[in-house]
Symmetry: C2
Subunit: 317 residues, 2 copies
């Protein structure tokens, strides 16, 4: 399926940001290895999700484009689909729960999508989507378990490897598995000998358990600061993960925040907790990286800083 | 003096980070101009100061190198000189006031310099430096008013312009004037028609008043969140500013924090308040930038995030 990642890259490369690769001398010295961070926090809308959304919308039929698309999300996928739809010229409807953070609703609306508010109980979102699809003929764009989304997501690791060359390891976070699946396809396609390691919060370890048991284990009441990783694998992502991922390891909440603190303080990167999980995996030393070349995927940088800046403004003289 | 900036670039280019240039579609759309951010927050030690320190130390005589260097600083210059001295292989002594933030003392010591603690009253630092210079023959490296420091600082704008080409405006923050003077030399040397605009906190407007009155006005009790800009111009920086800078404008504390919030939230860049002052100047719309190409110098990203991460860790379940 690697050729589809390559095709996705050619399809979207003039629309998405070619995100920078960053390094840290401090980290390299500390671990005695060479780490290359692929920074999707610098992607449009602040996360890798924009890649898959563009890749999907560009492949709709003319008829589908005319009818528009729909999804349910309160996170990065909502903003990604909203902006991608504006750029491609397609109507987008986003179903968001009534308790979604106002800053995310505003951002999503700001990119041009129509927002439909639904209840916040499990199943409410799906229930709200169905009648709208039936009535208007909208195409559903799933946040992760869709091959076009996965292949689009894979263009990030594709860019990374084309830029830095040989790698011994690639670390990526796993939640719904879209980013991981795409990263794995690109990595194994370009570097068959590189090890693909997924990292998951211990407090939301459904992918870890699914991988070990060989069947999809649902994510029940995940309790992690990494809000983007609370979802579970789907049939498509599970299949790719089982085939292309070498291992899934878990990290604690404290390890996630420590990794995030390193990225903010030492690397000057605003990374969201979900995006710091891959570095947390590297720092957990479950793999011996001595002398190795390591790719570290940063999925995004969308974190609510309202409180931080309100406090700062209140402290002004 | 532009040739000296070029020479500095050749001298230090393999030691300093070639920092990335970042852009923001949101900002460009909002202002209808093209902005190019030169990101010295990604420089070694997290600020442009490393450039001048390396440029200075590499020009010492063998005898001066053997005796070592000294400076007084509680900020970025201390860390810059400490790391530069380690790399060049020179002993560095940093005089720091007893009330300097512990995180900065630790960082400076971490790079290898010897720390000498002094009192925190005005003049205490200078008093502590003198006898050490006399006794050990250390060479004093001033944080800003030294031509080698200025020329080294200028290599940042030099890189920016070499990378992005023609610019109509360049905005830079001003405190002691080292970064501004270097930026002005590089800008006017490469782009004689570009306007060089300095931006200063209204609450520390000594450079603004010095520029308007044609003589150095001391900075007395500056009260600004932009801690790197509380210092004042010296004879060298004042002369360069008068000759090469087109205007100095001022911004409020709230404008500084708003610019910083934009850089963190929308651009995912950790920028310190002093480093956001240049964007604050752009956003203040004192200049009509419609259709223009604008360089925006980010001086650094060293801000104490201990409280932020302590709160985050305490909130973990």
């Amino acid at each position: 399926m690697f050729d589809k990642v390559e095709a996705a890259y050619e399809r979207i490369k003039d629309i998405v940001n070619h995100t920078p690769v960053m390094t840290s001398t401090t980290l390299n010295d500390q671990l005695n290895c060479e780490c290359f961070f692929k920074c999707e926090n610098f992607q449009k809308i602040g996360a890798f999700k924009f890649r898959g959304a563009v890749n999907t919308l560009l492949q709709l039929t003319e008829e589908e484009k005319e009818r528009g698309v729909i999804t349910h999300s309160s996170g990065n996928h909502a903003q990604a689909l909203s902006l991608a739809a504006k750029i491609v010229g397609v109507k987008a409807v986003i179903v968001m729960p009534e308790n979604a953070p106002k800053v995310k609703v505003t951002a999503t609306k700001g990119y041009g999508a129509e927002i439909v508010v639904c209840g916040s109980k499990p199943g409410d979102r799906e229930e709200a989507v169905k009648p709208l699809m039936k009535k208007h003929g909208y195409t559903l764009v799933h946040p992760s378990d869709d091959l076009r989304i996965i292949q689009g997501a894979g263009t990030s690791a594709y860019e990374l490897i084309k830029e830095v060359g040989e790698l011994d390891y690639v670390f990526a976070p796993v939640g719904g598995g879209g980013f991981l699946s795409g990263t794995a396809l690109a990595t194994k396609g370009l570097l068959p000998n590189a090890k693909m390691i997924a990292v998951e919060p211990k407090n939301a370890d459904d992918a870890y358990r699914s991988f070990k048991e060989g069947k999809i284990i649902p994510s029940i009441n995940p309790n992690t600061i990494a809000d983007g990783l609370r979802t579970q694998l789907g049939p498509n992502t599970f299949k790719i993960v089982m085939e292309y991922v070498d291992d899934i390891i878990t990290v604690t909440e404290e390890e996630i925040v420590n990794a995030m603190q390193f990225q903010w303080e030492r690397m000057k990167l605003v990374v969201e907790p979900s995006g710091s999980v891959s570095l947390a995996g590297v720092l957990s030393k479950q793999y011996d990286l001595d002398g190795k070349r390591v790719g570290i995927m940063i999925s995004g940088g969308n974190i609510d800083l309202t409180d931080f800046f309100t406090t700062l403004k209140n402290s002004l003289s």
